[in-house]
């Protein structure tokens, strides 16, 4: 049992004890005032208020302790995500500086350092974006954005960045009509990229991702990212969008992240008047993320 779990157990026990004490006091009050309606009603209402207060207080306390825990694990994750690539780049630079390295090895080292610089950049970006979307409730500069074209572009970039075969991510988008939304192209690109990155990250070694852009209703646009990866336990489907929250399940111990990606996705979706939701048949059975945005109808 960790220190936090102990604290939670203590406060819950304290709450139960206090509620029990209040209830017995209440019963005593009722017995003492038997036959007198006004004091009984008055007493019962006050006792009920005290009990409700106790429970609300405890619930908030426990939630706060849990949030603290998530925050701690976030700090650890970000520390790791920032320091590891720096350590790696440093290590290779020092190696190049102090040792005889063959040309082939040298080029390999440059590639490794570039990949680490990208990783570092990605982490810094996520943290900064999370800060921005938290402060701003409305999307930034808005304009008509063709979601199909934007998604196509993101898919191409994801394939490049993750060194995938061109067939690993399939895109299914209508070619005959534009699916346009009113939004900030940069932010929407972040949303689609984050969803794609997750799909690849949680797919393991065999990546099969299907992306579809569609209009399920005349006034809505969907971007749906479906993977055949490790899936999400049903109970966590909603919580994964919370800040710092990371899926807890066996088999994904190797996957590193800050717990910010989906939080950013949800914040941007909401700022655009849309929403995002996740579906999964459970662990090991893939996951589907759907971004729903209001469609911009042009005459």
């Amino acid at each position: 049992m960790t220190r936090r779990q102990k604290a939670i157990a203590f406060f819950v026990a304290l709450c139960v004890l206090l509620v029990a004490a209040t209830v017995s006091l209440n019963i005593g009050w009722v017995i003492a005032n038997a036959g007198r309606i006004t004091p009984i009603i008055f007493g019962v209402v006050l006792f009920a208020l005290i009990i409700a207060g106790l429970i609300v207080y405890t619930v908030f306390l426990v939630l706060e302790i849990k949030r603290n825990e998530e925050h701690d694990s976030f700090i650890n994750a970000v520390t790791h995500e920032l320091k590891t690539p720096i350590a790696s780049i440093r290590l290779y630079l020092e190696t190049l500086q102090s040792r005889e390295v063959s040309d082939a090895r040298r080029r390999e080292f440059y590639d490794i350092m570039l990949a680490d610089a990208d990783r570092l950049h990605h982490t810094v970006d996520q943290v900064l974006k999370a800060g921005v979307v938290r402060e701003r409730q409305k999307a930034g500069v808005r304009g008509p954005v063709d979601v199909a074209a934007l998604t196509d572009e993101c898919v191409g970039l994801a394939i490049l960045r993750h060194h995938l075969n061109s067939g690993a991510i399939e895109l299914d988008a209508p070619r005959d009509r534009a699916l346009t939304v009113n939004g900030d192209a940069e932010e929407l690109r972040t949303v689609v990229t984050n969803l794609l990155d997750n799909a690849v990250k949680y797919s393991g070694s065999s990546v099969h991702v299907t992306v579809s852009v569609a209009a399920p209703a005349p006034d809505t646009v969907w971007v749906r990212v479906q993977d055949r990866g490790i899936g999400i336990p049903r109970k966590q489907l909603k919580r994964i969008f919370n800040r710092f929250y990371r899926v807890q399940a066996r088999g994904l111990r190797n996957i590193k992240g800050t717990g910010l990606g989906l939080y950013i996705v949800r914040s941007i979706a909401r700022a655009h008047g849309g929403r995002v939701f996740a579906q999964s048949e459970g662990e090991g059975r893939g996951a589907t993320f759907t971004l729903e945005l209001p469609r911009l109808i042009t005459q």
Binding site: K83, T84, A87, T95, S98, R99, I112
Partner: protein
């Protein structure tokens, strides 16, 4: 060849460490997680001189791995190499059984120096275990008795207390009786000091030891100076035959 185990799940860092260790002439083995490391060290009983252990590993973290190794009686030197550099992390590392702790990002030269330090300590420990066999507790010659257990020299009814450093030095000289011992060896192997320490410090020690061992300290017969090298303890046998 010295074999070093790298327990690291970050491919880039593991590869970079391996490249450098191999360039220094070590044999480096990489384990990608804690279970694999425990498997190698406890089940297969592969011998490693040092283990470089990351903390944030998939599955069992580095703290757990270190603690399990120690609980199982595996006392290979462990250097923890981790992004977690807060004081409480460092403390936890040592509590779980690490011998050294280096936060990432690290300097390559410092990592290498620390690895060498751990190996050196390991070799000393091994030698300390041999000492009771090779050096007797007491050593007598010409009416003098060196008592390493009581840390004193008895000579003609007088006794001189030895400090730990004097005792270690004397023990080492006696064990290598008849052979010249360099000042550098005395500093590094006997006292564990860095070789660049001022070697004149040794000369003062030798002057003191001569007062305990020699009839006439100014013209030594037992603890001789070997010019350009260091010192030599002339053994009892050598004295008899001369």
């Amino acid at each position: 060849m010295t074999r070093i185990l790298i327990v690291e799940d970050e491919q880039h860092i593991a590869d970079g460490l391996r490249f450098n260790l191999e360039a220094e002439g070590y044999e480096a083995v990489v384990a990608r997680d804690g279970e694999q490391a425990l498997e190698l060290l406890l089940k297969e009983r592969t011998a490693f001189e040092v283990v470089v252990l990351d903390v944030m590993l998939p599955g069992k973290d580095g703290f757990t791995v270190a603690a399990e190794l120690r609980a199982a009686g595996q006392f290979v030197p462990i250097l923890m190499l981790t992004a977690r550099g807060r004081p409480e992390d460092v403390l936890r590392g040592f509590e779980s059984g690490a011998d050294d702790y280096l936060p990432k990002p690290f300097e390559l030269a410092i990592l290498m120096a620390r690895l060498r330090g751990l190996q050196r300590r390991r070799r000393w420990n091994e030698r300390d275990v041999e000492v009771p066999e090779s050096t007797p507790e007491t050593y007598s010659f010409e009416g003098r008795t060196l008592d390493f257990g009581a840390m004193e020299v008895r000579a003609h009814g007088k006794s001189y207390r030895l400090t730990q450093m004097e005792c270690d030095l004397l023990k080492y000289l006696v064990r290598n009786a008849g052979q010249a011992v360099s000042r550098g060896t005395i500093l590094e192997d006997v006292w564990g000091l860095h070789e660049s320490t001022d070697t004149r410090a040794i000369d003062n020690f030798i002057v003191r030891l001569r007062r305990y061992l020699e009839d006439r300290p100014a013209s030594p017969k037992i603890l001789l100076t070997v010019r350009g090298v260091g010192y030599k303890f002339v053994s009892q046998e050598a004295l008899k035959s001369s």
